[in-house]
Symmetry: C2
Subunit: 171 residues, 2 copies
């Protein structure tokens, strides 16, 4: 199975993955954290082949990272939703993203930065003494365009922010 | 290319990797962090096929995670040494390890724990506000047996500690 190169995506996480393996699964989890739930949404936003996406989604459901549910607005469609186990991958993704920012930058700075919603401050993954710090969860943070964001990245983040706001208004 | 299953290793990181992809590269980096430098050492300790190991080591050298150097004691052998870029993968490995501890535990607790050398305290990967905490580097920590360590894991950690002490004594 030949896989698409991640190297050309405007995403430091994807660039890091290009170095260290075959990571569609984490890319799907990343996309789910942005609020994507439908097969076609993953397919379009990740540029992943349908058969590969099917295999990976099934596997993520099997291992309990995602659940498959009928869509609330149209039960003919399935939706893939992160479980607690899946949401808990945030520090892994953040660590990879940060590493990619640091080592695979193209001189134009990070495409995206993770910021704390409450304060607007950028957050960092790090190894700390347990007694220090106060870990942040998925609810606490948002991904914002960084200095290296392309217009496509900005558009996508804006679209995700709209979806997020809609979901909040619905809830 | 069929890959060996990680699931049976006594290592939460490996168990996490079994869920989320094809990660020999990170397993090699983990082994390099434990002080392994020779091809045969990686081969034996990871149980990886020689042809796969060759491919992954070449790739890790190519992307600048490892360097290939003549061995100090016998220049006929090559040694693979982590670069700054490779050492900086510690938070990624720690985050995966922690996730594996939390979600792929077999009820017997973590096989290994990362502890701060200076204090003996367990450390945690987490997403924190940048102003908080004080990140720990590879030099600051050591991997110790956890409650779920098998005797094989204990033996390996003891062997690694011996190698580490020898390296320190040499240096």
């Amino acid at each position: 199975m030949k896989r698409t190169s991640f190297a050309d995506m405007n995403c430091s996480l994807a660039r890091a993955l290009e170095d260290v393996g075959e990571w569609w699964s984490l890319m799907i989890v990343r996309e789910a954290m942005y609020g994507t739930r439908r097969f076609d949404g993953f397919c379009e936003r990740l540029g992943i082949a349908r058969n590969v996406l099917t295999t990976r989604l099934n596997r993520l459901v099997e291992v309990g990272v995602l659940t498959r549910e009928p869509a609330a607005d149209d039960p003919r469609f399935s939706e893939y939703v992160l479980t607690a186990k899946g949401r808990d991958l945030l520090p892994v993704l953040a660590a990879l993203l940060h590493w990619g920012d640091r080592w695979r930058s193209r001189g134009d700075g990070p495409p995206v930065v993770i910021t704390e919603i409450a304060t607007g401050r950028e957050v960092q993954p790090m190894l700390v003494r347990t007694v220090e710090g106060d870990p942040l969860d998925l609810e606490d943070v948002v991904v914002a365009p960084g200095p290296g964001a392309t217009s496509q990245t900005r558009d996508r983040l804006a679209e995700r922010a709209r979806r997020r706001d809609e979901a909040t208004a619905d809830g």
